[in-house]
C-alpha cells in the first residue's frame, strides 16, 4: 500500500500545455503515472503526447474518469483552477502552484471539506508513492519503494532527506510535501493518520520548519495516536525572528513558532529530532531496532 496515491490513480493535469505543466507531465508519464487527460482552456480537442486536452476540468474528469488532478496553473489563475478541480468530482487535488492569495486558499479549503476532497498544497512539490505513481515535481529517480513514510513542509529539503534515505538503502512508501503556505489543504496530522493506517509504512519521517504550530499539534497527535515510530527534523533553528524565510508560512512571529519550541514538543512526545538531515537514517534504524 501507500497513502493517497497508487498505480490505480487516474490523473488529469491542469495547465498541461504550459512550460512547467508539459515538462512535468512528461516526467510523470515517464515515471509511470497514469495521466489520462489534461486541461488548457481554449485548447480542448487537441492532444499532447497522445493525452487528450479539455477546456474544463469537469469535462476532463467526466470523459476520462480521472480521480485526481494536479494544478500547474500560474498564480493569477491558480485559485480559480483549483476551485474548479475541487468541484469537478476528482477526490485528490495536488496544488503545486505558488504565489496563491491566502484568502482564496481559505475559500478553496472550505470547499474541500464540504465535498470531501483531499487537497495537497498549494505551493508544494506534491506526492510520490515510489514504484507506483508520482503526482508532483520531485525528481523520481532518487526515490525507491520501501517502508518509510515521509511528510514535509518543504520541497528541496524533502529531496535532501530522501537522498539520505537512498544512501542508507531505505525505501519509501509515500513521500508527501504538504507545502509552506499559511493555509494548506493537507496537514501533518492528516498525513500521519494515513501513514499509521497504511500497512506498507513501518516508520515516518516528519520534516518541519519554523512558523505556526503545526509541528506542536503533530507532536500531540503522535503522542496520543501513533504506534509507528516517528523521527523528525526541524529547519530554521538559526533563523532570526520576524523575518519571513522564503515560505510565507516560515516566520517566527511574536516569539512564536521557533524551532526550539517545536523540537521540545516533539522530543516530549518521544520523537527523536535530528540535528542534520544525514542523521535521519540512523535515527530510523534505531527506532526500528535494526
Amino acid at each position: 500500500m501507500s497513502i493517497f496515491l497508487d498505480e490505480t490513480t487516474r490523473v488529469c493535469v491542469q495547465g498541461i500545455t504550459g512550460r512547467d505543466g508539459s515538462f512535468h507531465t512528461r516526467a510523470m508519464v515517464e515515471y509511470g503515472t497514469n495521466v489520462v487527460s489534461g486541461v488548457t482552456p481554449g485548447k480542448g480537442g487537441q492532444e499532447m503526447d497522445g493525452i487528450p486536452i479539455f477546456n474544463t476540468v469537469g469535462e476532463a474528469v467526466n470523459t476520462t474518469e480521472a480521480n485526481a488532478t494536479i494544478v500547474f496553473v500560474p498564480a493569477k489563475f491558480a485559485a480559480g483552477a483549483a476551485m474548479e478541480a475541487v468541484e469537478s468530482g476528482a477526490k485528490l487535488v495536488v496544488f503545486v502552484s505558488e504565489g496563491v492569495p491566502t484568502l482564496d486558499v481559505a475559500k478553496i479549503y472550505k470547499r474541500t471539506k464540504e465535498l470531501d476532497v483531499r487537497m495537497i498544497g498549494p505551493n508544494c512539490p506534491g506526492i510520490i508513492s515510489p514504484g507506483k505513481s508520482k503526482l508532483g515535481i520531485m525528481p523520481g529517480f532518487i526515490h525507491s519503494q520501501g517502508g518509510i513514510g515521509v511528510v514535509s513542509r518543504s520541497g528541496t529539503l524533502t529531496y535532501e532527506v530522501v537522498d539520505c534515505l537512498r544512501r542508507s538503502g531505505m525505501g519509501q512508501s509515500s513521500v508527501i510535501g504538504i507545502g509552506g503556505d499559511p493555509i494548506i489543504g493537507t496537514s501533518f496530522i492528516d498525513t500521519l493518520e494515513a501513514f499509521e493506517k497504511d500497512n506498507e509504512t513501518e516508520a515516518v519521517v516528519l520534516i518541519g520548519e519554523i512558523g505556526g504550530t503545526d509541528e506542536e499539534q503533530a507532536a500531540e497527535f503522535i503522542r496520543a495516536r501513533m504506534t509507528k515510530p516517528v523521527v523528525s527534523f526541524i529547519a530554521g533553528r538559526t533563523a532570526p525572528p520576524g523575518k519571513r524565510m522564503g515560505h510565507a508560512g516560515a516566520i517566527i512571529a511574536g516569539g512564536k513558532g521557533t524551532a526550539q519550541e517545536k523540537m521540545e514538543a516533539l522530543a516530549a512526545a518521544g520523537v527523536p529530532v535530528a540535528d542534520r538531515p544525514s542523521e535521519i537514517p540512523g535515527l530510523l534504524k534505531t527506532a526500528l531496532g535494526r
Binding site: 475559500k107 479549503y109 520541497g155 529539503l157 529531496y159 499559511p182 493555509i183 516569539g255
Partner: protein
Amino acid sequence: MKIHEYQAREILSGYGVPIPHFEVVDDSSDARRVAEGIGSMVVVKAQVHVGGRGKAGGVKLAQTPGEAEAHASAILGMDIKGLKVEKVMVADAVDIDREYYVGIVVDRASKRPVYMVSVAGGVDIEEVAATTPERIHKHPVDPEDGLSLADAQELAEKLDTRPHVARDIAVVVEKLYEAFIGSDASLAEINPLVVTPDEQVWAVDAKINIDDNALFRHPDIEAMRDPSSETDELRRAREMGLSYIKLEGDVGCIVNGAGLAMTTMDVIKYYGGEPANFLDIGGSSSPEKMQTAIDIITGDPNVKSILLNIFGGITRCDDVARGLVAALRERPVGLPLVVRLTGTNAENAMRILAEHELESAETMDEAVEKAVELARRQA
C-alpha cells in the same frame, strides 16, 4: 508587505472608518503648519516599518504648533532599530476615555480569518495574549459568507455596553473587515480604537500587512511600497525573484528552496560556522539570477567563503552550472567557492563545471564542512 501607519489610515478612511485628521510631512516647518490647521493638541509619529516606535522616542504629543515643529525636527532623521525616519505623521490627538483593540488575522490553525477584540487596547496585543489571554475575544469568520452585521454587533458589545457606542464600534468592526478582505491583508488592526469622553469612536492607530501573494491584484497598494524601507540588496533580490535575508556570519550561501536554505544555515552552525545570509534562488536559475545572487553575497564585507547548495528538482542543475559559469566569467568572485549540485541533470552540471577549478562536494555535510573551514582560514 508592510505599509506605513499613514497608508493604513488612508485605506481605512477609504472604507469609512472614522480617523482623526492627519497629514504626513518630511519637514518640521510643515509639521507646524499642520498643527496650526488642527488647532488643538497633536501627536507627531515617526513613519517607519518597526514596532516600538513610542519606546524609541518616535511618538510625541505636542500642545502647540511650536512644540509640534520641535518634535518633528527631533524625530525626522532619527534612527529607529536601524531604520532612518524620513516622514512623520502629524495627527489630531483626540481625548481618550477608553481604549480598545480590534484586529483580524489569517489563522493557520482554523484556516480562516479570525477576528480578535479586546478591552485591553493601547498596549501590545501579543503581550495581552501572553499574559491575559482571557481578555481577548476571538471570532472565526467564514471565508465565504464573511462577517454578518449580527457578528459585528456582538463583537462590539464585548467591548462597550453603552448601546449607541456599541453601535458605532460595530460599524468600525464591519468596515475593518471590509478593508481586510478588500486589500487582501494578512493582518489588519486598530489599536487603540478610542472612545472619547463625549462618546465618539475614533481609530487612532492602524496597522495593515498585505499578503504578498495578492499584490498582483492591488497595484494601488504595490505603489505604497516605500523604497527607503528596503536596502539596495533587498530590492535587487526581490526584483530578481530571490529571497534574501542578511545575517551576521561569514559563510555566504546560495540555495534552492526555503527549507533547504534554512537547513544549510543550521548545518553551517552545526559545523562551527556562522551563516552570512539566507538566500533562496527559487525554482528557476537564469545566469542573471545567479549573477545577482553572487553580487549580493560578495557585496557583504563579512563573507569569507561561499557555498552553493542545489538539489535539482524543478530546478535543473545544468542550468545552475551554466548560470554560475556565466557569472564567474563576468566577474571572478575572489573568494573560495564550494559547489554542491545534485538531483536533476547533476551529471551534466558537473561536466560543465569540470573545466573551472571549483571546490566541489557530493553531500551537504561535506560541502558545509569545506565552506566553514575555508571561511575560518580566510579569517
